[in-house]
């Protein structure tokens, strides 16, 4: 077939399809999201979002036990959520091939940390494969399924942002039949009671020895001899590409694709054949530690940064004593500084209404945030909450936070804020405990009917699934009621109605103990919502405007202070949400578009 330009994520989907993957599940997370979105377009594979990564991996492992080739995909921090099943599946092994994709994010392009998930492979005692471009994504994922079945192990398929989101040429292959393995009850393998687990642990250790033997000769691990054996470089993943770019054909490379268990013999052979040994890897000194354990001296993290993302320039600066070329003329005059351009809540975003109402009650509340679009509400001018740690942590941590504040005499009410997808992901247990323990917390669910931050994926609350089938939408409010929280402590409001939202907040502040506010309005970037808002906008009447700048405090990108006037000058950007109208004390803003 003709080569096509595919991103790493697209190539993983292609490869999984070619490998006969029959079941795939994921929870969205940049940079992994497009794997399932693309895989869902192929025939013969059942692709679904799980409500979190643990559920997604468990859907996949169940399918594997049942005899299907199965894949689960997630971003790096998602694997923390799914670590429990991963670590025990290492003991159990598989029936149909099982591949777990972890998409790491060195540089924190869109994440709360830059953890290096290669360290999970030795902990979970599962094989690990690392591609370095899109074609390897396709071929290695096929190899990963074969490896999984041949060695009876789940395979951790570790990617990084630059592999996931870079496009390079791929030659599509011929898909294999998604043949099912027979399912036979086997409690000695899959029912991990202590008696079974003890036995399985020994078997896993044996399996890993066999895998390491294989890794020494696997085509996924290769030596590329250069024109010289002066410098030898051990590397994997995207770091291989950077090393290649900087050191070219002059150096020799041990390019590792099967990176757990690491091939000791192969590393020894390579290390002995070169005069100077470099280990070039992004993130933790994972390869370097092994090389040193084998007794070889090498240059690694003393020159290659451990923090952040690598690029060729960084390597050049670290290893080669020449400055990288500068783009400007000598003695150039200083340039003006570019203003910051942070991502902001969209014009018309329903979350802005919620934060605007909350902002009017700043003296009596403390906000606790979570991960999603509404996380942008921490920035000025909204400054809606004080901290956010990881998905789902707002409700649960607010229980302890409110306790601590009360103990030190701080009477402010804690408002814990998360989105609908986050609620389904891991917010529910926190709510259960808040209600059960009578925590003095207002749990707020910002229900915009979608997983917006990661590019608008379905949630358990939507009426369609990833494959486009009609499904049962799970009702957020019904779930809240099911905790037993009395109805007078539950409010459902439209966040663009500031008065109603504020009234609910006042009730929550007044009530001692748990309270729930469901702030409900769909994201304005949803296609049908955007369509229904076409032709609607607001405008400022310059005769009435007194320049009080109240409307600028809501941080809407459609309102500007330009040449001494307050204007809404882009009717396409403005959705006519009317929030600015509600905050203007002088009635200077009015609807300009056709009000339906």
């Amino acid at each position: 077939m003709k080569p096509v330009l595919l991103s790493g994520d697209e190539a993983v989907a292609r490869g999984a399809h070619e490998a006969g993957c029959a079941v795939a599940a994921a929870y969205p997370g940049t940079p992994s999201t497009e794997i399932l979105e693309n895989l869902a377009r192929y025939e013969n594979v059942w692709c679904q979002w799980g409500s979190n990564e643990k559920v997604a991996l468990e859907i996949a492992l169940g399918a594997s036990i049942g005899g299907a080739r199965a894949l689960a995909a997630m971003k790096h921090v998602g694997l923390n959520v799914a670590a429990d099943p991963l670590l025990s599946m290492g003991y159990a092994g598989v029936n149909g091939g099982l591949v777990v994709v972890s998409a790491d994010d060195p540089g924190c392009h869109s994440s709360q940390n830059e953890q290096d998930n290669r360290l999970y492979a030795p902990l979970a005692k599962v094989a690990m494969v690392e591609p370095s471009d899109s074609e390897e994504c396709r071929t290695y994922i096929r190899a990963a399924f074969d490896l999984s079945e041949a060695f009876d192990t789940p395979v951790l398929f570790r990617m990084t942002t630059r592999v996931c989101h870079s496009k390079s040429l791929v030659v599509p292959g011929v898909p294999r039949d998604p043949a099912m393995k027979p399912y036979v009850r086997n409690t000695g393998k899959f029912a991990l009671l202590p008696t079974v687990a003890r036995v399985r642990h020994r078997l896993v250790e044996e399996k890993l020895l066999a895998l390491e033997e294989y890794a020494n000769t696997s085509p996924l691990n290769r030596i590329e001899w250069g024109t010289s054996r002066e410098v030898g470089i051990i590397t994997s993943g995207i770091a291989y590409q950077h090393a290649r770019e900087v050191f070219g054909d002059g150096a020799s490379y041990l390019k590792l694709g099967l990176t757990f268990p690491l091939p000791s013999k192969l590393i020894r052979t390579f290390a002995r054949s070169v005069s100077r040994l470099y280990v070039i890897e992004e993130g933790e000194p994972y390869l370097e530690t092994k090389v040193r354990l084998l007794g070889f001296d090498c240059i690694g993290k003393e020159l290659v940064p451990l923090c952040g993302e690598l690029d060729a320039g960084i390597l050049r600066a670290a290893f080669l004593p020449q400055p990288s070329p500068a783009g400007q003329k000598e003695d150039a005059p200083a340039l003006p500084v570019a203003p910051p351009r942070p991502p902001v809540l969209c014009a018309g975003c329903p979350h802005r209404g919620f934060y605007t109402a909350l902002g009017k009650r700043k003296k009596s509340v403390v906000g606790v945030g979570d991960i999603g679009c509404y996380g942008l509400g921490v920035n000025p001018p909204l400054e809606g909450f004080d901290y956010s740690i990881c998905m789902g942590s707002s409700f649960s941590s607010a229980i302890g936070f409110s306790r601590a504040l009360a103990q030190s005499g701080d009477a402010r009410k804690v408002f814990a804020i998360l989105g609908d997808s986050t609620f389904f992901h891991s917010g529910i247990p926190g709510l259960v405990d808040a209600v059960h323990l009578g925590a003095n917390v207002c749990c707020c669910i910002l229900d915009n009917r979608i997983t917006a931050m990661t590019g608008h994926q379905e949630t358990p609350g939507t009426a369609r699934d990833l494959m486009g089938n009609e499904v049962v939408p799970v009702d957020v409010v019904a779930l809240v009621k099911a905790t037993g929280l009395p109805e007078e402590r539950i409010r459902v409001v439209d966040p663009l109605d500031l008065a109603a939202t504020g009234a609910a907040m006042d009730e929550a502040i007044a009530a001692q103990g748990p309270f729930v506010i469901v702030s409900r309005r769909p994201c304005v970037l949803l296609k049908d919502v955007a369509k229904s808002l076409e032709g609607q906008w607001c405008e400022v009447d310059q005769k009435l405007c007194r320049q009080c700048r109240q409307c600028l405090k809501i941080g809407c990108p459609a309102i500007a202070s330009k040449e001494g006037r307050i204007v809404i000058d882009d009717p396409v950007l403005c959705t006519g949400c009317g929030l600015c109208m509600q905050v203007c004390p002088f009635g200077a803003i009015r609807k300009g578009g056709s009000v339906r």
Partner: protein
């Protein structure tokens, strides 16, 4: 491809301006012309309005997909202030194509920051090869502000001497059917655009 084996292009702008679509078409055209191509983008935030960049490398054989500071042969700024932000990525002697269109970021809208003045003048004192490409203006004249990116694509194809690929077919394939005609027109205008 004189001397060096590869070319690095960096396209920068504001989310929603269509830099990614432009990069996709450009990359596909380069593949059709027989180059090895890698394109790298950073996305993942749903909202519009942030600073965005895509990087394209092409040549005989490409390894690393991303371009570091001082490595871009061609920097294409879809917005004026973004040219300033990304200028350090330009190689000495590289070309800067700049659309003088202004999009105010929120800190400027709220008065927390100011939009820089004399951007083109300052940059031309520093960059040897600065080309001003009023693509947004052309797109507005066509009654289709969103086709700014196709005007720039046309301009780039001419600038890089890449006429050999079936660019118009690619544009037609990649843009939404409803906007096909105006985007093709935008591409043509761009290809004929005189850049100062």
């Amino acid at each position: 491809m004189s001397g060096r084996e590869e070319r690095n292009i960096l396209l920068v702008g504001v989310g929603g301006q269509g830099t990614i679509l432009t990069s996709k078409i450009l990359s596909q055209g380069l593949v059709d012309l027989g180059y090895d191509v890698k394109m790298s983008e950073i996305h993942g935030m749903a909202q519009r309005g942030g600073s965005v960049s895509t990087q394209i490398k092409y040549g005989r054989k490409i390894y690393a997909p991303n371009i570091g500071p001082g490595e871009a042969d061609l920097l294409v700024a879809f917005e004026k202030a973004e040219a300033l932000r990304w200028f350090p990525w330009l190689r000495k002697g590289g070309i800067l194509v700049l659309d003088p269109r202004e999009i105010y970021p929120v800190p400027v809208l709220t008065g927390a920051a100011t939009y820089p003045e004399n951007v083109v003048e300052s940059l031309s004192a520093v960059v040897e090869n600065l080309r001003v490409a009023p693509a947004a203006k052309v797109a507005n004249e066509l009654g289709s502000p969103r086709s700014q990116n196709m005007v720039l694509l046309g301009a780039l194809v001419s600038l890089l001497g890449l006429e050999g690929a079936a660019w118009k077919d690619l544009v037609a394939r990649f843009v939404p059917p409803k906007a096909r005609d105006v985007n093709l027109l935008a591409f043509e205008r761009g290809a004929a655009l005189v850049m100062r």
